[in-house]
Amino acid sequence: MTTPLIDVQNLNKWFGQQHVLRDVYLKINAGQKVVICGPSGSGKSTLIRCLNQLEHHQEGLIYFDGRLVDQHQPYLQDIRRDMGMVFQQFNLFGHMTVLQNCVVPQMRVLGLSEQAARERAMQLLERVRIPEQANKYPAQLSGGQQQRVAIARSLCMQPKVMLFDEPTSALDPEMIKEVLDVMTELAQSGMTMLCVTHEMAFARRIADTMVFMDQGCLVEQANPEDFFERPQSSRTQTFLSQIL
């Protein structure tokens, strides 16, 4: 039996007195594509933000690639480097061009030469089908284009897993498809993915595991067919009946 790439055990987190993650267990193997869904405020985003410690949990253990993830670990930066993250609001660096957004982190974190960083950046910008925008600033791009750059920027660090935090929620409807297409292509290339999204058709297409969260609890975990056709818990049934 192989050790999972990500292993979350008994995770608990509070914001002040609010108990936002309750006894969460989750295992993700290399190559797996997991989609997390659930009503807003259910702790989906908090869960994946705990994985790379943008939020610090109070109880429980998280292992990534065999190493303990903890805010005090000296190798936390290595762990973050190996977990790519894509945000709802893109969060491209506004004072850098698209190319610089991809090049500067490679030079600072991976210690690559500018030449090498530039080459890899252009490869990935081509992969997200946006190489012609390399010298523009983020503010000059549409939301969909910005999000694709953000994906390329994360991929530049050659991560072992990609975390997506509602990547299409801030996009105009006509731009959602171009981002989902890039993500689908990424899934097909074998990348391990963990994705919080409300795009159920997309989830059904790429996911091999569906996870449903509600009120900080991981309620149900199943393969997409069982999840959409035969949801077990009544909360999942209610949720699915509201959005499908």
Binding site: N91, H95, R108, V109, A150, M157
Partner: protein, 313 residues
């Protein structure tokens, strides 16, 4: 059914674009002109009336030699008190801006640090400096704080041990070497004072950068120092450039405060010249004009930077 405007059909799909009407801009009107005439008339009348009571004979001729003098021995031109003071003020200003910025960056970073101790140190610094009057600060700093460390530095002795070329270079950067202790004291005092205000500007600037920027940088594995230098500060600078300009101009004007403790910069020298020429008003007017020129130039430089910096993104 009646259609409003032109009907969009297959043949004429688009209403052709037209040029925009000329912009209307409010310029002078007659009322403005009237105001100017009235105020000018009042001023003129006031000046005529006061001419009898206030009869001052302006005499600038005795002031000019205090800029440039002819050296008695060599017959060459040499800078005199006012020009020397101006150079010291410029050196104080440039180095002061640099050091105040460094102090501000470090303290501003500490002010938002996760560790309470660092936050407290930075807050204490800012609160202390900001809540006492500048003049009082200068005296307290010079008489109670600086003489804890200045004697041990013994800069003038260290400098005199250096080779002549190095001394020449240093005197280009920091002014006459025999006055290095004096200059350094004024510089540290001014930088510590201004640094507190820059600290607050740095903090406000860092706060103005959206959280997502830091989070994205963190998620890529960047170190905290890299995040500050590469991501937060460059964007913060754009937001705080106007207040930073104001603070730097303030720093130049505040440099006149250290004349209180005998730092021989422009306003100190100006007082000297006032005493020796007895031309009090001329020297005051002249000093004001010089400070205005320095500060105005600086604000123009920063206005240029603002335009250039703002254009990029």
């Amino acid at each position: 059914m009646q259609t409003v405007g032109r009907r969009l059909g297959v043949d004429d799909a688009v209403i052709p674009a037209r040029a925009a009407p000329p912009a209307t801009r409010l310029a002078w009107n007659r009322l403005d002109l009237l105001w100017v005439v009235v105020v000018a008339a009042l001023l003129g009348a006031g000046m005529l009336k006061s001419q009898g009571a206030f009869s001052y004979r302006w005499d600038w001729s005795s002031v000019w030699p205090y800029f440039v003098k002819t050296d008695v021995l060599t017959g060459q031109w040499a800078p005199n008190l006012l020009l020397q003071g101006l150079m010291t003020t410029l050196r104080l200003a440039l180095w002061g801006m640099l050091i105040a910025t460094l102090v501000g960056l470090v303290m501003g970073w500490m002010r938002n640090h996760a560790r309470l101790l660092l936050r407290m140190v930075a807050s204490a610094y800012v609160m202390t400096v900001r809540n006492i009057p500048p003049v009082v600060f200068v005296f307290i700093f010079v008489y109670f704080i600086s003489n804890q460390f200045m004697p041990f530095l013994a800069l003038d002795q260290r400098v005199s041990a250096l080779p002549v070329e190095v001394q020449l270079f240093l005197s280009f950067l920091f002014g006459p070497m025999e006055l290095i202790n004096n200059f350094f004291l004024g510089l540290v005092c001014l930088s510590v004072f201004s640094g507190a205000y820059v600290t607050e500007i740095v903090r406000a600037g860092s706060d103005s950068v959206p959280r997502g920027q830091t989070e994205a940088a963190r998620s890529l594995g960047m170190t905290n120092l890299d995040i500050m230098i590469r991501v937060v500060w460059p964007q913060a600078l754009r937001n705080v450039l106007p207040s930073l300009t104001g603070q730097f101009i303030q720093l130049i004007k505040d440099s006149s405060l250290v004349s209180l403790v005998s730092i021989q910069e422009l306003s100190f020298m100006a007082q000297d010249v006032q005493v020796s020429t007895q031309r009090v008003f001329e020297v005051f007017v002249l000093t004001a004009v010089i400070y205005f020129c320095i500060c105005f130039t600086l604000s123009q430089v920063f206005a240029y930077l603002e335009r250039r910096h703002g254009r990029a993104y």
